[in-house]
């Protein structure tokens, strides 16, 4: 078993202030460094360490002690209470609509949020966002990002559309809509037409005389391909197979 004092000495005075606890996990022989997330920033600065600095420390200790080393980032005290308080307030305000709510800190005063809402509409989304940002401001916090989990308001990105077209071409507007509406319920003809036109003007898409869309060579070159099971080439081969049958 490793001697904690030796490990603390090896960590050094400069970095030990970021480590709350050192522990040896005998079940798998791993040396553990517990670091409070409130002391971690994107870059090293006075009073703050970074993931990179802690990873370098872990690698150095692993070499010194010929042991596996893991850094465990512990959440800020009161994090759960704050998360739960926001969740309860939002649930109270938007009755039965907020299904789950999680936050994380990207720095001391900025949070990332994951929100799951039932029957989300643009109007409801704006109302929740506006109310939630005000709540955060009252707590001297600001928002970095909100992720709407399982949102039916999501629309496909252009790279996603190109990949879809590569796998299923040639397709006309109505057959594209027929498939896309299942995955993106709020999509409409106008939006799709506008996007396809934009891609066509970029020279990545060709609209044939019969109204079918096909990717140009430029369009094909943009879609990532490879040998993975999830590769667009495999998607294309499977789609061709399905059409043949």
């Amino acid at each position: 078993m490793l001697n904690n004092d030796e490990v603390i000495t090896a960590i050094g005075r400069r970095l030990i202030k970021f480590v709350n606890e050192v522990r040896f996990r005998s079940s798998d022989g791993t040396l553990l460094l517990y670091v409070g997330l409130e002391k971690v920033a994107d870059k090293v600065s006075p009073g703050f360490t970074s993931n990179k600095q802690m990873n370098n420390l872990a690698n150095r200790l692993a070499k010194n002690f010929s042991s596996e080393v893991a850094v465990i980032y512990t959440i800020k005290e009161g994090h759960d209470d704050l998360e739960n308080a926001f969740f309860q307030i939002l649930k109270q305000k938007f009755t039965d609509q907020i299904l789950s709510f999680y936050i994380s800190y990207s720095d001391k005063t900025t949070v990332n949020t994951w929100l799951e809402v039932s029957e989300l509409s643009d109007k409801l989304k704006n109302r929740i966002e506006e109310y939630y940002i005000k709540l955060l401001q009252e707590a001297d916090l600001s928002i970095n990002s909100i992720q709407w989990i399982d949102s039916n308001l999501d629309l496909p990105s252009i790279p996603w559309l190109l990949r879809f077209l590569k796998a299923n071409q040639p397709l006309n507007l109505s057959s594209i809509m027929k498939v896309l509406v299942k995955e993106f319920p709020t999509i409409n003809d106008k939006w799709l037409n506008h996007k396809l036109d934009y891609i066509r003007k970029k020279g990545m898409l060709i609209r044939e005389k019969d109204g079918n869309y096909c990717l140009s060579f430029k369009g094909l070159s943009v879609v990532p391909a490879g040998t993975r099971r999830s590769s667009s080439d495999i998607d294309r081969a499977l789609a061709l197979g399905r059409n043949k049958w």
Binding site: R25, S26, S27, D28, T30, L32, L37, N51, E68, A70, V71, I72, Y73, T74, D80, S100, Y102, S104, S106, N112, W114, E116, N144, S145, Q147, I149, D150, D154, P156, S157, I158, P159, W160, L162, R163, I199, K202, M204, V222, V223, P224, R228, R229, S230, S232
Partner: protein, 166 residues
């Protein structure tokens, strides 16, 4: 699997004997961890089949390295080709970073608590205001691990989709 954890947590709270409270409580930590781990492994396996067998100890590092790398590269490429804007690229990268970081940190900590629950009986469950704690960590917080894993994985898969990698 979360449902088993919830039942064990309820049983643990109802026990009068400390030893039984401890036994059910640590088993609940174990189930909550496995629920989160299996959700993550399943979702990563959907992105690349080689991740279907990702091990407990390697999964946190995989999340912040190999899961991110192809997406960052692809988003840069798509931005250069003009299929996404600089702002879309930056927003996708920031969301991916937050989700992979959070999931990686959560799984590392959850795995540590699961190891304590399974292999270190000398560290026992304590109770404060009817909340069970293992090494100061609340069991009620552990109950959120599967839901959080699910939310973070959905974000990761969404960004892979935006980059047209899945």
């Amino acid at each position: 699997m979360k449902i088993v954890g919830v039942k064990l947590e309820d049983w643990a709270k109802d026990q009068k004997e400390v030893i039984e409270k401890d036994a059910f409580g640590r088993s609940a930590f174990n189930r909550y961890y496995y629920a989160a781990y299996l959700i993550t492994r399943h979702n990563l396996g959907e992105l690349d089949s080689k991740w279907k067998t990702e091990k407990h100890k390697s999964i946190p590092n995989t999340l912040v390295t190999t899961v991110r790398k192809p997406v960052i590269k692809e988003l840069e490429k798509q931005c250069k080709k003009g299929t996404i804007t600089k702002s879309e690229q930056s927003s996708a990268m920031s969301s991916l970073k937050a989700a992979t970081n959070e999931l990686s940190n959560m799984l590392t900590q959850a795995y540590d608590l699961r190891c304590i629950a399974d292999y270190e009986p000398e560290i026992s469950i304590s109770t404060k205001d009817n909340i069970l704690l293992l090494k100061g960590y609340k069991l009620s917080t552990a109950r959120e691990w599967p839901g959080k894993a699910n939310a973070y994985c959905k974000t990761i898969r969404k960004i892979w989709g935006i980059a047209s990698l899945a």
